[in-house]
């Protein structure tokens, strides 16, 4: 492995064997002495990944996509079924905060216990003890039992220890969802410091804002496979699109990182998407215009109920908002032939700027399956609308609504 890499994963597979009937006792094992039958669960398939030293690398994916399994394998908790995981440097082997915390022990005792579990020696914990207490702001509580702490205090203590335990490579799994706003700001500052100090960070999260703010690169895992590795913005977009209003299950076979193609021969083919103001086709709108969007599509065969999703994406790839047809059209079942549906995006919602107007059609089922999509990130031609401020009375980034009054005279 090259010196510049912190982590190299090649052809990693992980299968779990789930016994059909769990045989936990000797009696059952003896009575059913034939080999127990297993179901194989492929948690990870052919993962290839290289993370450079000093990189802040994000991993995103929906629940059950395999990202936690991957993190556990990197951390050395699980063994890979096939493939290789090579780590260059020391690694903080935790994936969760406060491991080994015992409510019956005092704060001080828990600092030592958790510290050594995270790989510090007793002496190192001793040296960093004051810093931990200061950061957690729990000076007065250290001799109280942990069970008397609020959950926020516990998290603060746990983060303060983890922060001191860092090695060359840090694995962080969703630690920011807790704590009050002031403490969260402190955590983010720590992340920035860690990033600046040149350590490698592998960060698993659902927070796309954090991915875009901190990560140098990111990866999206879906259905046990790498869906894409790329710029945080692109990955965040893919993630948001996949999670937009409908949770989209992508047809298999298209999971090539980087470029994705539209499904071939869909039962419903999206023909075009256009925008207009009143009756005039245009991509130029004023902040106080209604935006009318027409979607033309052709139904090739009788289908189950479907839903359409309209979503706006900023030119830099950030997913902004989406609206689907479930609210207004319910279980929509268009007949065979050509159709047009339209959506009115009411005025005064969008700030100044440019937006791509994308659309997708999915089955109504849970989870929905993608039928066809018109999306800039798929390289499709979609309207790019421009919102401009042309009002005489309002000015600024968005259409500010207000009413003036005059109370005659006041004394």
């Amino acid at each position: 492995m090259s010196d510049k890499l912190a982590l190299s994963i090649s052809h990693l597979h992980k299968d779990f064997r789930l016994p059909h009937e769990r045989k936990n006792s000797l009696k059952e094992w003896v009575l059913h002495f034939k080999r127990p039958s297993y179901e194989k669960l492929h948690a990870l398939r052919d993962i290839n990944l290289e993370v450079k030293k000093g990189e802040f690398f994000g991993i995103v994916g929906r629940n059950g996509s395999g990202k936690s399994t991957l993190l556990k394998i990197i951390a050395g908790i699980y063994q890979p079924t096939h493939g290789q995981v090579r780590v260059n440097g020391t690694l903080t082997p935790f994936i969760e905060l406060g491991i080994g915390f015992n409510p019956e022990l005092t704060g001080r005792e828990n600092v030592y216990l958790n510290g050594v579990i995270l790989g510090l020696t007793r002496r190192q914990v001793e040296a960093r003890y004051q810093e931990i207490v200061n950061f957690a702001e729990l000076e007065k509580f250290m001799d109280q039992r942990l069970k008397n702490y609020s959950s926020g205090m516990q998290v603060r203590l746990a983060f303060a220890i983890a922060k001191e335990a860092h090695n060359d490579i840090l694995l962080i799994d969703e630690v920011l969802a807790v704590g009050d706003a002031a403490f969260q700001r402190k955590c983010y500052k720590v992340f920035k410091d860690i990033k600046q100090s040149g350590k490698t960070v592998i960060f698993v999260t659902h927070d796309m804002a954090a991915v875009q703010e901190y990560c140098d690169r990111a990866m999206m895992i879906q259905d046990s496979k790498v869906l894409m590795i790329g710029k945080p913005r692109e990955v965040a977009l893919r993630y948001e699109v996949a999670n937009a209003a409908v949770a989209v299950e992508r047809p298999s076979g298209e999971a090539k990182p980087g470029k994705t193609a539209r499904p071939r021969n869909p039962e419903i083919k999206l023909i075009k998407i256009e925008t207009r103001a009143n009756q005039t086709a245009t991509t130029d709108f004023r902040l106080d215009d209604d935006i009318l969007v027409d979607i033309d599509f052709k139904v090739n065969a009788k289908t189950e109920a479907v839903q359409f999703n309209l979503f706006l994406v900023k030119p830099d790839g950030i997913y902004l908002a989406g609206i689907n047809t479930i609210g207004d059209l319910g279980q929509f079942k268009p007949t065979v032939g050509k159709h047009r549906i339209s959506c009115k995006l009411s005025s005064e919602q969008l700030p100044k700027g440019e937006y791509f107007v994308n659309t997708g059609v999915y089955t109504y089922a849970k989870p929905p399956r993608l039928i066809d999509i018109l999306d800039t990130s798929y390289g499709e031609n979609v309207p790019k609308i421009m919102m401009t401020d042309r009002s005489l009375t309002q000015s600024g980034e968005f259409f500010i609504k207000g009413e003036w009054g005059h109370d005659e005279k006041v004394s």
Partner: protein, 262 residues
């Protein structure tokens, strides 16, 4: 992880184990001394006043107490060792901690208790006028043998217990049988020769009797006496070696999957 961290880890796991065990009890640590002492009191009365098995044994109080303390160490070490992995699922599922450290730490806890119990045995030996002999110096070697044996059994049981939850019941029964099948209460001169030979295969018998021979009285019948040759030591030590190999192989093999199976 560095070796020094492993030591810190054992130390913290043992320390927190002790803090938790005696939290909220007034006598606290004294309970670990009182339990074997009370058992000793009852057995001493039964075997000197009622059944009189101990009559022929010189320094029987110290002899009996020593046996009980050694036995208490073995049961405590193997029982807590067996539960070590399953009881620490919270750690093993979340952090790549060396699994053997957890098993070792339970045995170290038992060893701390044992050392303090041995102080009481020392007091009884002095009070019972047991003559001091140079052979006492060899006792630590046999205690080391006992520790290694207990640790090997702990490794094997802890790994088996992850897969088969019946192991705890089986081991309870085995310990109950051993309590009588190992000459803790009675001298090895008591059972008939055939049975004495059978009992002497057990490594615990060899260790207990050798320690008593070294520390209490050379009149103790050791497994060497029973077989009238060094066979009496070779067989028990061979059994220990076998268990070490088995435990090492099985624990190493299955510890990789602990995190998934817990």
């Amino acid at each position: 992880m560095a070796k020094s961290n492993n030591l810190s880890l054992i130390r913290e796991l043992v320390a927190s184990d002790f803090k938790l065990r005696y939290q909220g009890s007034i006598l606290g640590y004294l309970w670990s001394l009182l339990r074997p002492l009370m058992l000793f009191g009852v057995l001493y009365v039964v075997f000197t006043k009622v059944i009189r098995i101990g009559d022929g044994v010189p320094y029987y109080p110290a002899y009996l107490l020593l046996g009980l303390v050694l036995w208490t160490f073995f049961t405590e070490a193997t029982l807590s060792g067996m539960n070590a992995i399953t009881g620490r699922g919270d750690l093993i599922r979340k952090v790549a901690i060396p699994k053997y450290i957890i098993v070792i730490s339970t045995n170290v806890s038992a060893l701390v208790n044992f050392s303090l119990n041995m102080v009481v045995v020392g007091i009884f030996m002095v009070a019972g006028d047991v003559p001091l002999r140079w052979t006492l110096l060899v006792v630590p070697l046999l205690i080391a043998e006992l520790m290694i044996f207990a640790l090997a059994v702990s490794f094997l049981l802890s790994a088996l217990f992850v897969k088969f939850r019946d192991i705890s019941h089986i081991w309870d029964v085995v310990l109950q049988v051993f309590f009588y099948a190992v000459p803790i209460l009675y001298p090895l001169t008591f059972p008939p020769q055939r049975i004495a030979e059978f009992i002497s295969i057990n490594p615990l018998t060899q260790i207990f009797q050798d320690i008593r021979w070294l520390a209490i009285t050379p009149q103790t019948r050791t497994t060497e006496n029973v077989f009238n040759s060094q066979i009496g030591r070779i067989i028990p030590i061979a059994i220990i070696l076998l268990i070490i190999v088995l435990a090492w192989w099985y624990f190493r093999r299955s510890s990789k999957r602990f995190a998934e199976e817990l």
